[in-house]
């Protein structure tokens, strides 16, 4: 990995549905350990961009590079193989299972020896590993034997994020879709702490959210989409909220940012 190479780079991504352009030549990068907010009103193209990143949707044109290497994702599994994990708004946790089982699902540890050949689970090892994974994220939560249906919304979000994070390689990329949508203020802070903790470990994070305070609190950079175009791409610290809101509503566009027009040649 060359220093300075973005962890994830989307170059000139366009997504067409017939004549409608969900995304129009959007360029988007995330550096290792960077947290980038992806903002925009409904219909701006945020979900579509996330889908391209996570391998759910193939772009009509443009390239996706992960740590400098070009990739073509034909399915979410390809994206996962490249080190990208996504946490959807519906979380998709198994309610009757406890935290440990949800974290281990799909990578369950088996007992050593003949019992293991028959597929017998090593429950103690699963519990230990899940606890270790949560400890590594520096978040104190319910005991790993607690069924997730008994957890609060914030704790469930933490489990869903931890599940994705545990499957990331070093310098992986985590995509979060509205992680604090249904959460109160205190619970959102839990999630915020977890995001920062992950970024400190070198994970790149793309955060789609309507929650502007969260975006300003935790993100290094802010990217705004409007009607399929990128209208702003700025370090968070340098710009005020009102300006960002005007970018979101489309009232204005970042100074100096060129919006590609139909017929323009692709960027170099």
């Amino acid at each position: 990995m060359i220093a300075g190479t973005p962890a994830l780079e989307l170059r000139d991504i366009s997504v067409h549905y017939g004549y409608a352009r969900a995304l129009d030549r959007v360029t988007f990068t995330v550096a290792p350990g960077e947290v980038v907010a992806l903002l925009g009103d409904n219909g701006a193209g945020k979900s579509t961009l996330l889908k391209v990143m996570s391998g759910v949707h193939r772009p009509s044109s443009g390239t996706v590079l992960v740590h400098g290497e070009e990739h073509e994702f034909r399915s979410p599994r390809d994206a996962a193989g490249a080190g990208i994990q996504m946490v959807y708004q519906d979380l998709a946790l198994v309610d009757s299972f406890d935290i440990a089982a949800n974290l281990a699902l799909g990578r369950e540890k088996l007992l050593k020896g003949p019992l293991g050949w028959f597929g017998f689970l090593d429950r103690a090892a699963i519990r230990r590993e899940s606890q270790a994974e949560l400890d590594a994220l520096a978040v104190r939560t319910a005991p790993v034997t607690r069924p997730v249906e008994m957890l609060s919304g914030g704790q469930r979000q933490v489990v869903a994020i931890a599940r994705a994070a545990a499957r990331l390689p070093e310098h992986g990329i985590l995509l979060l879709d509205e992680p604090t949508a249904a959460l109160g203020h205190e619970q959102a802070e839990l999630v915020e702490a977890l995001i920062r903790s992950l970024a400190d470990r070198g994970t790149s994070i793309v955060l789609v959210t309507h929650n502007l305070p969260l975006a300003f609190a935790v993100c290094d950079r802010t990217v705004v989409l409007n009607r399929g175009h990128k209208v702003a791409d700025v370090p968070t610290a340098e710009h005020d909220k009102d300006l960002v809101v005007s970018w979101i509503t489309g009232a204005s566009v970042q100074e100096g940012l060129e919006i590609p027009r139909a017929g323009d040649p692709p960027a170099a």
Binding site: P76, R77, A80, Y88, D90, A92, L93, V94, D95, S96, F97, A101, N102, L105, G106, R107, E108, L110, F118, G119, F120, L121, R123, Q131, A138, V139, R140, T141, A142, P143, R146, E149, M150, L151, S152, G154, Q155, R163, R167, G184, E186, Q187, E189, L190, E192, A193, R196, S197
Partner: protein
Amino acid sequence: MTVTGSIHQVSPGKKLPTNVRGLLFVRDQGLLVLWLAIIVIFAFWGAPHFFTVPTGVSILNSASIAAIYAAGVGVGVMTGVLDLSVPATAAFSGVVTALLLKEGAPVAVAILAGLIAGVAIGVINGLIVIRGFNGLIVTIAMLTSLSGVSLLLANNTNISQLTELRFLGTQTYLGIPAPVYIAVVLYAALTIFLRMTRNGMRLLAVGGNAEAARRVGIPVDRYRVAGFAISGFCAAVGGIVTAAYITTAVPGPSIGIVFSAMTAVALAGIPFSGGRGSLPRVALGAVVIATMSAGLLLAKVSSNWSAIITGALLIGGLALNMWTTNMTSKLLLSGQDVPDKKVTR
């Protein structure tokens, strides 16, 4: 940055609050308490014949066969599948085994063929359902058509005098009839499979939240078919054991089987939404129903009242279960804060 994560952060050593643990006890042991209550009631009401060994053995017998079917339906429900074709699969397996016996095949071969037939029906059900068809409708369709197949194969008559199967039916070992042993072994195997193996866990995950399983890369369709296969296998065991018990293979389906099975599953508190449940409790549910039936019979209650009481029992069991689940959630999510726990960064 210090974050006070006060919402429901319980330190690792702390147990659930007492009132919640009490509720969970009611939910978990309620059925056992109910059963004991029924026994006590009928010991007096159905005296002098109820509280006797012959009645006990008879209850065990009918409970075992019902429990075998209930295992199939129960595992199906837990893995996200409601298999209504069980009566037809049971009859079909019974007919297959009986026909082979009549042709002179060795007993082991005939039984094996019957079991494989049951699994095959389950797999066919599964393969159709994963194409996107509604599981309920598919299994009902299978119930109808498979019944026709069984009747065709058996030439519209019962196949009787299956004395070779007696060792599985009325034969007692140490005073206990064979079906009881079969039911116990089946339950032990399935419970261990679901609780302790990786495939069992994944099967439950698919039943509980197929999307969650899909997200972590589990091949959901494969497990759905497996759920149907297990249901078909249990139906086959039930059909063969029933044929053994009455030494006759009846090609027509006994639809009542599946409703008793569902009642036992519901009494055991297994939600039909899938993903969770205790199989041993399903067995207890079957025992409760059998005890109730025997008791009402011996107390000379008319069958109409019997039906009403059983239905009321079912609703009562469901209601108790819903109440304890809701109360548990409410108690855990309110006023259980531990305000001094901090997440330090």
